[in-house]
Amino acid sequence: MSQTWVQLCYVVAAVLFILSLKWMSAPATARRGVLAGELGMLIAIAGTLARPEVVNYRGIAIAFIVGTVAGVPLAYLMPMTAVPQRTAFSHACGALAAALIGTAEYYQHTPHGFVMGAIVAETLLGFLTFTGSLMAFGKLQELLPGRPFTYRFQNWINLGIFGAALALGIFLVAFPEQRWIFPIFASLALIFGVLLIIPIGGADMPTVIALLNSYAGLSAAAMGFALNNDLLVIAGTLDGSSGFILSVIMCRAMNRSFTNVLFGAFGKVQKSAARAEQRAVRSATAEDAAEILGSSQMVIVVPGYGMAVAQAQHKVRELYDMLTRRGVDVRFAIHPVAGRMPGHMNVLLAEADIPYDRLFEMDDINSDFGQADVALVIGANDVTNPAARNDPGSPIYGMPILNVDKARTVMVIKRSMSPGFAGIDNELYYMDKTLMLFGDAKSFLGDIVKALPAAAMAA
């Protein structure tokens, strides 16, 4: 196939990728979007395989088989609760591919000037995103401790290593023949990726995952510059801007800046603020909860990461069904940073067959809490903490929260009184109208579901 035909394939693929993202905007067209994306990828790969300079197909065929064998189970066997880990792992794969291609290009051609600059950007982003994503994967999979880990001069050390990597990169652009520099440059980028994620706590994971997504895309875009391939630039940049926008949305939802997320080590500052005093809380049984829920007209459920950990989404669905059948208006309030990645809660609730028109964004539902009889908080913490509104001394002050405290009764399903990921005490738990339901979310919801019919009889 001539170069013109190959280029035409790439143009068609680029159009399909753009349509794919366009159709992704609403659930009704989203699956068509996936199809467009698949088709685009197929055309791009077919066009590339038909390029005259591609002659050795054996290695490619083996790699295709290995990749498919690895990819299919990764897509079908992963439980939905593990989607954040899978996403982090994919960022690592994508970044590794970009970084290795850049490395090979460098050693094979030793390019100069603009192309070398692109390769430096590609490998720098690629290597740091590779180790960073693996670290994020480790934290999400709980292979590594999830709490932020900080030490003295951490930010200065990180900044120094990144600065050194950048300086070596610039040096390589100026003197590409100095090949011994490249391994040092690559190692610094790899180390920086690890150090970048070490101080990140669970509450910040949504932002960081989105940011790594952006880096992986930009790395592919830089490869497009190095290979003078516009399709790579377009697809990589679309991914890069997507990740960037998502991380901005996440930051805004926490009222924090990028620098604060990356260098702030959430959950460290407030140690001093931890109050030793024991405050009284009201706890209740599943039967009490069932009675109140059964006699209410409107219930707003607030899910959080705790629901994912307990795998409680199917029990939530049972409760939703029972209450809906009794005429209760049940809604779900989703905070943008609930869970460990953007949209995490929506996917879990959709998996449990809860219709998506019952899931509401924060801004759309916050005014409804005043009319709600019950706000049922399942494994969410910081996103419900009124301190974000009232207490200027709180580390989360200014963060937009769900107005759970405005509901007539607040129920919180929680394992124990231990503070959440950010280590901040939640005032909500000590309010007079709050009932604490201590226990595992899944089994407690099961008990409520069992107690509901009896509660209905009594009423």
Binding site: P27, I45, L100
Partner: protein
């Protein structure tokens, strides 16, 4: 390399980059937060377009051993993302249902 220009800058590709960035911003802004997780796995699969560069590297005539090894790993990693990315996105999207007629 048409001309001997030591600081040759690929301006055309820069235009493409900037336009794609603006387009991406406009497209992603419109995506419902409901679908942010599938969106991320979809863009992840799309950015596995890096496979194009990896194929050229691995498939070239008389590739040096280093290019062959790194190219092989890169094709494998990228194809893993292509396959798992699209499949899991579709698997997730299949679960999003509306109430009417949504209960199978």
């Amino acid at each position: 390399m048409e001309k001997e220009d030591p600081v040759h800058i690929d301006v055309f590709t820069l235009y493409v980059f900037i336009l794609a960035a603006f387009l991406g911003f406009e497209l992603i802004k419109r995506v419902s937060p409901l679908l942010h997780t599938p969106l991320m796995s979809l863009t992840n699969a799309i950015s596995a377009i890096a496979v194009v560069g990896a194929i050229i590297l691995l498939g070239q005539k008389d590739a040096p051993p280093l290019s062959r090894i790194l190219g092989f790993i890169a094709v494998t990693a990228a194809i893993t993302n292509v396959v798992s990315g699209y499949l899991i996105t579709d698997r997730m999207l299949k679960m999003f249902k509306k109430r009417e007629g949504g209960k199978r």
